[in-house]
């Protein structure tokens, strides 16, 4: 282990917290782990970010997040329709000798302006949300918020990840395993999969495991709302030789603290629990670097 530790010097970890199933405790684990370990916290669940409710940081800066969308100059446009044909997202149509643009469908890939030989397409920024930068006095906090009605979360997640400071970081992901999660976990050193001992928890966990395995991201499991008995998640992990880092026991005190928007690490017994998880992760990541 000592050898591993030396490898860690100068390397800042990025750890993604995901789950598959929603409501298993991603934000609870993310915020408390960040707080216990003094790691930066980044809320990538931009459709419904809620980590700041618990961390309650002072927001020092708010930036607009936007994507580049095409603006078509009708004078320069000769009607070749190359832009319409190249668009994989059906965001452009050729209707009545005019290019029709559907802004909510545009992913901002820029293909339309690349293929236009007549320089008729320029790119303009379209705002889709905000990024908040702050700190709670101890740890740096970042949060992306997608505007209501906007369908595209990935661009704001990419913007957000570019702003991550050079320090150990927890990335709180959205539930599921779709593009938003893929964008959030791209390039991270380790994935923490939070689940619960229910059939739904296991079902969605398997999908999340498939995703992280496909992306070659080392991972470990946290079973939340667990009992003392061996549960279906542990049985599955044993069979699949997957590392269970911690079982967080079902505990009314946690529910009471959560319902008041309080941090679990305010209490020593939970603080020790998260410090222990953090140390386990450090060990895992350092050995993976070898």
């Amino acid at each position: 282990m000592l050898e591993c530790k030396t490898e860690m010097e100068g390397h800042n970890m990025q750890i993604a917290v995901l789950s598959g199933k929603g409501g298993t405790g991603k934000t609870t684990v993310s915020t408390n782990l960040a707080k216990a370990m003094g790691w930066q916290y980044v809320d990538c669940d931009v459709e419904e970010p809620n980590g700041f409710i618990f961390l309650n940081p002072k927001i020092t800066k708010t930036e607009k997040a936007s994507i580049p969308v095409p603006k078509i100059d009708p004078i320069k446009c000769v009607g070749c329709q190359k832009c319409v044909k190249i668009c994989q997202f059906n965001a452009l149509a050729w209707v009545n000798r005019d290019v029709l643009f559907f802004d909510k469908l545009c992913h901002g890939c820029g293909a339309c302006s690349l293929v236009c030989r007549y320089n008729a397409i320029s790119e303009v920024d379209r705002e889709i949300g905000n990024i908040d930068v702050g700190n709670d006095g101890e740890i740096a906090c970042l949060r992306g918020t997608l505007d209501i009605g906007e369908p595209m979360a990935v661009p704001i997640i990419r913007n957000l990840k570019k702003m991550i400071g050079n320090e150990n970081t927890i990335i709180d992901c959205s539930p599921g395993s779709s593009c938003t999660v893929v964008a959030s976990i791209e390039g991270v050193d380790y994935a923490l999969l939070v689940t619960e001992p229910t059939a739904f928890g296991l079902h969605d966990l398997k999908i999340a495991i498939e995703l992280v395995r496909n992306m070659n991201i080392p991972f470990g499991i946290i079973i939340n709302r667990a009992s003392d008995e061996k549960d279906l998640i542990e049985e599955y992990c044993e069979k699949e030789k997957i590392n269970v880092l911690e079982k967080i026991k079902f505990d009314k005190d946690i529910a009471v603290l959560y319902s008041k928007g309080r941090m679990l690490v305010e209490h020593d017994k939970y603080k020790d629990l998260f410090l222990n998880i953090g140390k386990r992760i450090e060990e895992e990541v350092s050995c993976n670097l070898l």
């Binding site: 997202f89 059906n90 149509a93 050729w94 009545n96 029709l100 559907f102």
Partner: protein, 126 residues
């Protein structure tokens, strides 16, 4: 004049698909030759913007009227922009709907139905 009918299968006796963007086929009827041509709807394989792709395809085919059930908000922009008349089917056969249309007896669709409605019956409907 070319009239497109949203169709579940590619034969004249097919049931009409009430979805526009996500229907399987368009039965395109030519009033001059009095014949049908069936084309696969390009919208059905789109990951998004199915109604736009379907509408574009019909404009490119020179279709001037559509008979269907519901048209989404994006598709209606394409079809209305291209001056395509949109009509609501009444539950009869494709040929009967065409006759009703030619007799001016089909109700016009002027407003979009809900977005993504066609995604609820992805495998075609019975």
């Amino acid at each position: 004049m070319k009239i497109a009918i949203t169709s579940v299968t590619k034969d004249k006796e097919s049931v009409i698909d009430e979805r526009f963007g996500r229907c399987n086929y368009f039965a395109i009827y030519d009033t001059e030759s009095k014949s049908f041509e069936h084309v696969e709807n390009k919208g059905v394989t789109s990951s998004q913007g199915a109604g736009i792709a379907a509408g574009q395809q019909l404009l490119d085919c020179g279709v001037e009227a559509v008979i269907t059930g519901y048209v989404g908000p994006n598709a209606i922009r394409v079809l209305q922009g291209g001056n395509v008349a949109i009509h609501k089917f009444t539950g009869k056969s494709i040929q009967e709907e065409i006759n009703l249309f030619l007799d001016n007896k089909l109700e016009k669709i002027n407003e979009a139905g809900p977005a993504h409605a066609g995604m609820q019956n992805r495998n075609g409907r019975a």
